[in-house]
Every structure is written in structure tokens, then in C-alpha cells.
Symmetry: C2
Subunit: 700 residues, 2 copies
């Protein structure tokens, strides 16, 4: 069977270039691991200074090997790498794992060297892992390849693990062994000169050996591609990621709310959310979740039953479930009756089902037979705290037999007592995750359920509206030609109008008298604003007065504004006052992640509460709807305490239209629509103020 | 030395009543543990059916023992407990540990039995742990008492551990042993018929053997006493607690915002916050923090240095620190220069200090010599991922020697590799906490720093204002006498006025015409409200119109209100319109925790964002100030984006005055001041609306 990255993962022959006789060298360690793990093909040490290494005949260079070589593991000093590469090309080797460090990670000459290496391998169609990595593992019995210098021997399993940190790779393997998480593949990606995380995800997408993909990441090479691939892959296979390096993100220019609020971390969270990848905060959590994903089916919902022989741990499990959005449901009367008929009289048959300390293997068997196939529950947590008079190994056996073939996820918490160790080993071997504390089981289960929701969420459609793209293009071009980055109020208003983002009716006039006349035409109440090139944050400058109800009030407000802003050039804008909820829609471009859309409630909600949501473009209509519903203040839009419900579909459309504007005009760097007032009908909803800025770098 | 609970913890002789010959019985297990752990006094098995147990001469009853007995451990069936108790009283035994279950936890006859036991032991001045517990441990070499049936042998250390769950006790001991956390005392509290968590905290307060108190709790016996004791104890000794059983809290009547929002969990969080006890979410976290508290000093601040031999883990540590409020500071130039002069050229001497993989024991020693006493840092995280060519045990030795006598907390992350196990054991033995992942070290350090802030926070003063307590008392009495729980608008207003909580000037009038006249007297703009016995949630009913600026507007609003509410009896209240931020102050009484004060921003902030803070009364002025600053929307009060800063001291005073009202009048069950409008000066701040309700149960 031919699969992606076969050159790396399925070699029939491996050369270790730089295999040394020195027992403390990395080359020696890799050779040792390959042999010790039982590589099923032939191994060829390469070292000009030795005739044999590790009792295997040694060759002075790759070219000297008489047989074809599929994969070369390179452990020579950096200066020697180019020569080895040339040899590999001459030898027509199709896969390289470059352990050697000193490339892009040290900058300068190292980075240049890596660029050369990259160009050469691409030209020769050689696939490369590294440089600056700790190697790769494939535990498939057909290959049994441990081409790493890790000290821990991996165990066969179904996790595909990639790490952007070599040092953490060592830790990952040690921890996986410790908790009994089996590995299908492990890849230390190093500098990702050729093979990236995206490549690995695609290689593992259809590989039946992998049923969960685990990642430790420090940066994204191609975030847009990552989202695209993961959206597809996570419909069928879960991906869990720890992303580090968050504080590396520098401060950013704050022209707009959107720019200021879209800190890298918010965008990274959004990226994971959109891609369907489960971001987990810590490595411990990654392992907690991974053992469940590796062996257990997904729940159909969030209803959990807890079976226990002790009260305290069951309370902890119940608490943790509730906190994590899982529902420890009341069991149906017939289930309770069935449990009651087989359990001791002192047992509680509500949920948690507490069989109390006297419960032995038989009690577990009887209760599991009833619970495992109950249609009333979607998952089961089995707790056992070994009392001295009960044999833990027999209880474990009873649980293993009792849940065999169950279609719901079953996780266990087996606690205390030295004697329990064998029981824990047995349970894990049978594919039942074991946690030291009930909260671990609850967290893992919540992870399964979170992924199920991701997998089941609607895919949505990419919408396209009938807009006046050319008119918008002319506005952008004209401003760019005039060397202006900030669009004027009129330009911004025209730009948004071209994309069907409706503005409140308004007039721009030079004098107090004309402002009063305009207000008469528009109808009271009105809003009066001062517009001018220097007036960016209008509220802060006293350049906005709302809710003016008469000619007198407009006149007084205009005079006060004139007085306050006498040093600045400005005109009056008189606007019909809209009624509804203030929202903010924003667009910003992240140098790494591209166009980012923001939504939130306007005014103090965005300024003080930072209650905003981001999505990386493009987005579907379903994602736009999600954005609106994801803010904390959403009840205000859905109608609370007698307030009106706003037109949500109108908001969805506005977001998608703004997204379309961003896609059509890359020169537009930032847009702040603040506020968009939205009422219960689209006819009473409109944009009240907006600002737009062009990128100096992108030609219009 | 005479100490509290000596009867339990420092016996010279112990009787095990119910010690059985059966190797699987609990009594046998306890006897075995006492012997095996090397109890330094004499042990007397009691069992009428045996002449000897475990090779020790056995007595038919407590009365038959010829020597004095300090402590009796009771493991007989429940029915036999009263007889044993009588024997213990006759024998003048001063301490009992009752393992036997079947008391209050089963309700009914069990609960009655426990009440009898409680009365008897109180009368006889016998101290009792349990019933329904797994025993007690004191590792003091002078006693070496393991009077539990736990399977894990405890190790000597400085943690005082109490658990309200016996099953978790087993787990706690196993986990403590696993991670090398030493125990001074362990107590499984069971039903707490006599000795409570509060008693244990007080017993350990001045006990030099305990330097950190750890609790697993499911309920509070006496929350007010808990707060009082912990406030005092945590000034000197840290207390960490896991509180479970949160979902047990039922739904509650929602007369007021305060009542509805003060769910049990919010109040429990508040209780821990006020008491100075660090609440930790999970048992894993409890252990993560405990190992640091047991062995390391507190930091002086939040500046952290990270010393590492690998990049990835250092990035993880940096991220975790930043997320947890710790500052991975830039090191001073001279520190960087000093490090530069002793480390390899490829090392990075900024923070994290990355010595790269080649760094061995000498590099660690040199770097630690510079960092450990640097005044620029408050804590140090040392990371080591063992590369194959470096001896981990030697590095551990180097770290142990290098940090000896340091005055800042030093935590380590020693990762990967089988060979490192011995190193981890060595580090732990030397009192240096070791974590599997960098995030663990960061979490533990953040816990130390959180406790330092708690310990250093100002104590504050209990304020008392000059109020008209008697007038308020008359209002409460009159309403109670009339059988009304809800006070009328006038009564509420009078009640608050008596406690110096200023109300906006207003008039209550029957007609539209009088409302217009009243508005003219008060001065525009005004607020018009409908007040009547059926109008509780005024905004929802359309019974409030704000910002009326003329007689016409008042007239129109009055007519509209009359139309809307024509079915109800009401009068108009005309109120001068206050300008400022809307806040909400509330008082509620929790059946368990007593009087609870609430503060938040009014309007949608409380309704939608639930941005409110609670404190259990009494509170100091410092705590009132903390309440105000603890809401998310605090920037709105402190002045954002040109908005005014409000008079914070006025708010503090209002909270304390409301607290005083609660203390003086226990019959007042709930008060909602919503809104209190607060401006930049107290003269422009006032209560705009308020409701108060009496408790039917408490006599006025």
C-alpha cells in the first residue's frame, strides 16, 4: 500500500550517517535504538573512521553502500551536512531525517544553510524531517522503526504524535509510556525545512493506524492551510494540540478596536476553534484526553452515569462533570429498579450509583450489565477505591469483562492502594483509561464530548452578496493615489454603502443653522457629530452629542462643539438617531493569520468588558451566526427582561458582507463599524459610525 | 508540651476495640498498621473472642485492661458502639477514633445514635474523631501513630492533611507517597460528630510540625467560625482546600437580584477568599501546590527567572507564568553579563536563561550561583531535560548544592528519561519540588505568590457609622406587625435614609397634573415611575420613564403609564434624575453562610453579564474597597475613555452602611439598592430605587 511520506515512515533500509563508536554520541544512540526496537529492514552505519559500529559493517559514505537506501538519518556536524546531502541525492535516497542542529534556529549562516538545503531537497524530490530534531518513530510491526535518540522505548498504539520541540519529545515519550498511551508514529519536526505539521496531518488522515493526532506546536507555518486541512480531517479524526509560545506575540498598533483587541492569542484560539482542533492548555491535559480518544468511542450526548463504591470521589466526579458541561442525569425509574434488584440494600441507585465499600467484582458486573446499554446515558465513569477486603484485580477483571463491546465511552478512576497497580495495568491494557482522580475522567470525557460537538456542527455555506465591487474599488484607489491611508467619513460611508452595509440617513453641513435645518428634514431626535481629519476618537473629544430633540438643543450642542473644537477644522454631521442595540463589527489583517473579523456589543461592552469574538476569514454563514451567539452579552441581542429581540439574520448578513469586502479589496487593512445599531427589524437598523484604513503596503 | 487534641494525636497507649484475627478485617488492618509503623507506646487489642491478636495479648473489653488507656480506636459493629462508649467513659479514656459507620450518613436511627454519642462524649469531655472515618496518623517520631486502615505507609513531612471523605483519604495517602509529599498529620474526619475541621486548624495553628494545612471538604459545619479562624491562621500558615459537593446546592427563591445571584458556589468562593484559604479546583492541583508550600519559602513578588537546557519547555514555562500573572522579567544587564562570562557562547542569557543541551552539572552550578541571590528576581524555575550525554544525577546534585540556603522559592522540572528517576528522588529529598511538566512548576509558584498576596493584604478596620437605628427598627417592626414581608416604597426609602443611604429627591403624587408640578419643583430632567404594591420589577412593566425634559414630556409619559397599567393601583413618583454610573448594592441572607453583601454595576451589567461580587458579613473597609475593585467593569468606575471617575470612598461607605443595617436588623432578609447612581462627587450620587423584604422567620 502506497501512502504519503512513505519515504520517511516505511523504509526497507536505513543508513545512519554519523553513527559513532562512542557510546555517548547521538549517532550511536540512534543506531542502538533502531537495533534494539527491532527494525525489520537493514541498517547501514556510515562513518569514514570506523569499519564497524555496534557490530555492523560500516561504510565511509552513503555512496559506498552497495545496496539501495530508502532513508538516511543524518547526525554529522553541520559543516558536513551539505556533503551528505549531495551523496544522498547521488544515491537517489528519497527520505532524510536530519538530526543535526545549527540551522535556522541560530539565524545568520545557519539560516542561509537551511535555505540551501531546502532548495536542494525540493529539487531532488527528497522528503526531509528536521533539521534540528530528535527523529521519527513508526511502531508498525511491519517496520518497527525507532530512529530517535530518545531514552524511552515507545509502545505500539494508535496516537500520531508530532512535536515542534525535540526536548519535549523526550518528555512526551516518557509520559506516554508512564500512562500507557501507545504510539503509532512519533515525529520530532525540528525546523520544518520540508515536512510540516500540515504534511503530517495529511499523511495520517487516511492512515488506519492512527485514530488520534496529537500536536505540540510553537508556531504555525501556514495557518490558512492548517485551517483548511484540519476542517476536513477533524470531521473524521480528532486532533488535539498544545500551542505554546503565546507570550512571544508583540504589542500591535491600535488604530482600531479590532486591531487592538485581536491579540495573537485571541486569533490563535479562533484558529483552533475554526479548524476543529481541540486546543488543550497543558501537556498534562493533552495526555488526560489522549488516552480516552485513543481507546474510547465518542459519546452521543452529554448524559453521564457514575458507578462507584465510595461517596467522596463520586461527589468530586459529579462536580467536575457539572463544571465541564456534562450532565449527571437522574436515571430512569426502570433502570433504578433494575439496579435496586441486583445491588445490596444499602446501595444508592440514583446517579451516582453508589454501591458502597462492600461492593465486590460481582456487584460491578451486575451494575455494568444494566448501565452499559442504557439508552438514558451517553457515557459511564466507573470509580473504584480499593477497600482492604476487596480484591482490586478481580474488580478490574469484572469491569473489563463487563464493558466489552459497549458502544458508549467508559472511563475509570481506580484509586489508592499498592495492590491496585496490577489492576490499573490490566484496565489500561484492555483500553479502559484510568485516572488517579475522578476529575481526570471527567475532563477526558468532556474532551470527547467537545470533539463530538465539533464534528457534528453544521458545515454552513460561503455566502456571496450582490455588491458594487467596482465602486468600492474606485474609492480605495482614489485614496491610495492621494496617499491617504485613513479614508474620510464620506469615503467610508460610500465604501460600506457599496457593500450593502446601510448607513443612518445623515447630512454633512458647515454651519449651526444648516445643522438645525438638516435635523428638521431628518426628523427628531438626531445625533450631532463633528467630522474632520483630526477627529478620530470622537466620543473622547466631545465630538458627539446624542438624542437632541429640538432645534434649540441642536443649536446649543453645535455651539458647544464649536467652542470645544475651535482649534480644528470640522463640519457638522447631523444623523437620524437609530434605536436598538449597539454592536461593533471590525476587520483587521494579521500579518500571520490574514483577515480577521470581529463582532461584539458596542460601547462600554467592547471598551471595558472586551466582550468580542474573532474569526479568521473566510467564514460560512453558520460561523457568522456562531460569532454572534458566542459573546457573553448575547442575551441582550436575544431579548432579555422585556427588551426587544434583534434581527439576528441581518447581523449575520452584515458580517458576511464585511467579509466579502475584505476578500474583494486586500488593500483595506482595517474597518471599524462602531456602532452598528440593530433593532428588531432590518429597516430600523443601520451603521452609525465607521472608520476604514488602507494598508500602505498593498496596492489598491 | 501540652497541645490541643493531645488526646487524639499524642497517646502513650492505644486500645483497638474490635481488633480481629481475620486478616481481611478493618480492625486487624489498623492493628497491623499501628505495629508496622512502629507506635512508640503500648497497644491493647480488645476482642471478647480472642486471647491474642497479632501476637499481642487481647482483652475482652476496655474495662478489663489493667493499664491506663489514652486513645481507643473503635472498629466494632454499630450496635456495639454504645457499650464501648460506656466502657471508655468508665475507663476515663480521653480520646476516641470511631471507624464504625452507619451513623448520621445513613439518616434515621443512625443519626439519632450519633446525637446520643455526641451528647455523651461532650458530657464526659472525651474528644472524638469520626464516626464513619478511616482513622488518624501522626508521623512525629515521638509517637509514630498510624491508626488507619490505609494501605499506604505515610512518610514523615510537614503537611497537616484532613479529609472529609474516607475513600479519598486512601487516595490522598497514595498520591502523597507517589510524589514524595511528607505528612505530619492525617485525619479522616468522617461525620465530624465532635472534632471538626475548625478544631484541627486550631490544633495545628501553633504546631511547629505543620507548615501547610491541606483540606478536602464536602461541607462546612460552622462557616462563620471557619472564616474567623482561617483569617487569623492564614496570616502565618497557608491553608489549601479542595471543596467538593458544589452541585448539591439547590435552586433558590429569586425575590431579588442578590438572592438570585448569590448561588452557593459564589458564596463558597467568597468564603475562601475572605478566610485567606487558597481554594484549588482539583486534587491534582492541591498536590502540585502542596509540595511547593511544604518545602519552599514564599516569593517576595512575582518576578521569575527560568533556567533551562532546552527551548521548548522554557517557552511552556514562560507561557504558563504569564497566564498565571507571574512576570518572566528581563534580567539586569550586569546579571546577563555575569551569566555570559560563565556560560557557553551559544547560551542565551536573557530570561529564560537557556544553556542549551550541552550544559552539564558545572553550567547549572555556575548559573545558579549568579541567579539564586539576584535581587532582580523573586523565584526560580529550573528545567532539565536529560540529554543522553549528560548525567542527570550529577545535574540534580549540582542543583541541590547550588540552591542550598537560597531565600527565594526554587522549583524544578526534571523531564524524561528513565535514568532521571534517581535524580527526581534526590531533588525531592532535598526539598526541591519536581514537576513532570513546566506548567506544574508555574502553577505551584503562582500558588505561593497568591498566598503571599493574601498574607500581605491589609487587614482593614470594621467601621461603624452614626445611624438612626431606632427609626429603622420602628419601620421593620411596623411592617412585621402588619404581616407584610415586602416593605413599601416609602418604608424602604425611610429605612435607607435612617442608615445614611441618600435617596434621590422625589415626590409621590396621585395625578398627572401634580406630577408635572412636582417636576417643576425638582427641576428637569426627571424620572417618572409608577409605584404600587403589585409593581415589583418596574422596568419590565413599563413603569419607569427616564430623562423627561419638559412638562409636555412628563404629561405624555404619565398618560402612557396610566394607559399601560390601568388594571393596577399605583401613584406617580417623580424623581430628580441623577447622573453617573448605575451600581447595584444588595443584601441577602444565606441559610448556611449568613448575611451576604453584593456589589456590581447596575442595569444590563448585572442582568446579562452577572458582573457582581459577594462578601460574607462582617467586612472591613479594606474588603469593601476590594469588592468594588474586583468587578470586571471596574474601569467604568475608575474612569475610562473620558468618562468621569466616581467617588469610590462614597461607594465604600454605602456598602459598610448597608452591612451595618444588616447587622443591626436580623429581620431584614433582603435589600436591593438598584440602582445607586454614583458620580464623581458624593453630592451628585444617590439611591434611585430600592426594595427590602423581611424574613417571616425572624422576629423584628
Amino acid at each position: 500500500m502506497d501512502r504519503a511520506l512513505d519515504a520517511i515512515f516505511r523504509p526497507r533500509s536505513i543508513a545512519v550517517v554519523g553513527a559513532s563508536r562512542d557510546g555517548r554520541g547521538i549517532g550511536h544512540e540512534i543506531l542502538h535504538n533502531l537495533i534494539e526496537f527491532g527494525f525489520t529492514g537493514a541498517i547501514y552505519p556510515v562513518n569514514p573512521k570506523s569499519a564497524s559500529v555496534h557490530s555492523i559493517r560500516c561504510y565511509p559514505s552513503l555512496r559506498d553502500i552497495p545496496d539501495p537506501i530508502d532513508l538516511a538519518v543524518v547526525v554529522v556536524p553541520r559543516a558536513a551536512v551539505p556533503g551528505v546531502l549531495d551523496d544522498a541525492i547521488a544515491k537517489q535516497i528519497k527520505g532524510l531525517v536530519v538530526i543535526t542542529a545549527g540551522f535556522r534556529e541560530v539565524g545568520g549562516a545557519g539560516a542561509a544553510e537551511e535555505a540551501v538545503l531546502q532548495a536542494k531537497v525540493r529539487a531532488a524530490a527528497i522528503r526531509v524531517v528536521g533539521p534540528n530534531c530528535m527523529g521519527v518513530i513508526n511502531t508498525d510491526p511491519e517496520f518497527r522503526m525507532n530512529a530517535t535518540f530518545a531514552a524511552t522505548r515507545p509502545e505500539r498504539g494508535s496516537a500520531g504524535f508530532m512535536s515542534q520541540s525535540g526536548a519535549l519529545g523526550e518528555v512526551i515519550l516518557a509520559q506516554a509510556a508512564e500512562i500507557g498511551l501507545g504510539i503509532a508514529y512519533f515525529v520530532s519536526m525540528g525546523n520544518k525545512a520540508d515536512i510540516s505539521g500540515n504534511d503530517l496531518i495529511e499523511a495520517w488522515e487516511d492512515d488506519p493506524a492512527v485514530n488520534v493526532i496529537l500536536m505540540y506546536l510553537e508556531s504555525f507555518g501556514n495557518p490558512e492551510k492548517f485551517v483548511r486541512i484540519c476542517r476536513r480531517v477533524t470531521r473524521a479524526k480528532p486532533i488535539l494540540a498544545v500551542k505554546s509560545g503565546r507570550t512571544a506575540a508583540g504589542a500591535r498598533a491600535a488604530f482600531s478596536h479590532t486591531g487592538a483587541l485581536a491579540g495573537s492569542e485571541a486569533v490563535v484560539d479562533t484558529l483552533f476553534e475554526q479548524s476543529g482542533v481541540l486546543r488543550v492548555e497543558t501537556m498534562s491535559d493533552l495526555f488526560t484526553l489522549a488516552t480516552a480518544f485513543a481507546h474510547q468511542p465518542l459519546p452521543r450526548g452529554n448524559r453521564v452515569a457514575i458507578l462507584t463504591n465510595a461517596g467522596g470521589p463520586a461527589i468530586m466526579a459529579t462536580d467536575a462533570c457539572a463544571t465541564l458541561g456534562l450532565d449527571v442525569v437522574e436515571l430512569p425509574a426502570e433502570t433504578q429498579a433494575a439496579l435496586r434488584s441486583v445491588l445490596a440494600p444499602e446501595a444508592s441507585v440514583r446517579n451516582p450509583v453508589d454501591m458502597v465499600a462492600a461492593a465486590g467484582p460481582e456487584a460491578y458486573a451486575r451494575a455494568l450489565a444494566i448501565l452499559r446499554d442504557s439508552p438514558a446515558i451517553d457515557a459511564l465513569i466507573v470509580i473504584f477505591v480499593s477497600p482492604i477486603m476487596i480484591n482490586a484485580v478481580e474488580v478490574a477483571r469484572s469491569i473489563i469483562d463487563g464493558v466489552r463491546g459497549a458502544r458508549i465511552p467508559i472511563l475509570s478512576c481506580f484509586m489508592g492502594k499498592e495492590q491496585g497497580r496490577q489492576a490499573v495495568v490490566d484496565l489500561r491494557r484492555a483500553g479502559i483509561p484510568v485516572y488517579a482522580f475522578p476529575e481526570g475522567a471527567a475532563r477526558a470525557l468532556a474532551g470527547l464530548e467537545r470533539y463530538r460537538r465539533i464534528r457534528d456542527r453544521p458545515e454552513g455555506r460561503f455566502a456571496s452578496y450582490d455588491v458594487d465591487r467596482e465602486r468600492a474599488g474606485r474609492i480605495v484607489k482614489a485614496a491610495a493615489a492621494a496617499g491617504r491611508a485613513d479614508l474620510s467619513a464620506e469615503e467610508t460611508s460610500d465604501l460600506l454603502a457599496a457593500y450593502g452595509l446601510p448607513l443612518a440617513p445623515s447630512r454633512i453641513v458647515p454651519t449651526e443653522e444648516e445643522a438645525i435645518a438638516a435635523a428638521g428634514v431628518l426628523g427628531y431626535p438626531v445625533v450631532l457629530k463633528a467630522v474632520g481629519p483630526t477627529l478620530i476618537h470622537k466620543s473622547d473629544r466631545g465630538a458627539v452629542t446624542v438624542d437632541l430633540r429640538s432645534a434649540q438643543e441642536v443649536g446649543a450642542a453645535a455651539r458647544a462643539m464649536r467652542e470645544r473644537l475651535r482649534a480644528e477644522p470640522f463640519r457638522f454631521q447631523v444623523q437620524a438617531m437609530a434605536r436598538g442595540r449597539e454592536t461593533i463589527l471590525g476587520l483587521a489583517r494579521d500579518p500571520k493569520f490574514g483577515a480577521v473579523l470581529m463582532f461584539g456589543l458596542g460601547g462600554i461592552f467592547v471598551e471595558v468588558m472586551k466582550d468580542v469574538v474573532f474569526r479568521i476569514l473566510p467564514i460560512t454563514d453558520a460561523e457568522a451566526r456562531d460569532m454572534i451567539r458566542a459573546i457573553r452579552g448575547y442575551p441582550l441581542l436575544a431579548g432579555v427582561r422585556g427588551g426587544p429581540e434583534v434581527d439576528e439574520e441581518f447581523l449575520v448578513e452584515c458580517l458576511l458582507r464585511l467579509a466579502q469586502l475584505a476578500a474583494d479589496h486586500p488593500a483595506i487593512e482595517q474597518v471599524d463599524i462602531n456602532p452598528l445599531i440593530v433593532g428588531s427589524e432590518r429597516s430600523t437598523s443601520c451603521v452609525v459610525d465607521a472608520r476604514a484604513r488602507l494598508s500602505p503596503a498593498v496596492p489598491a
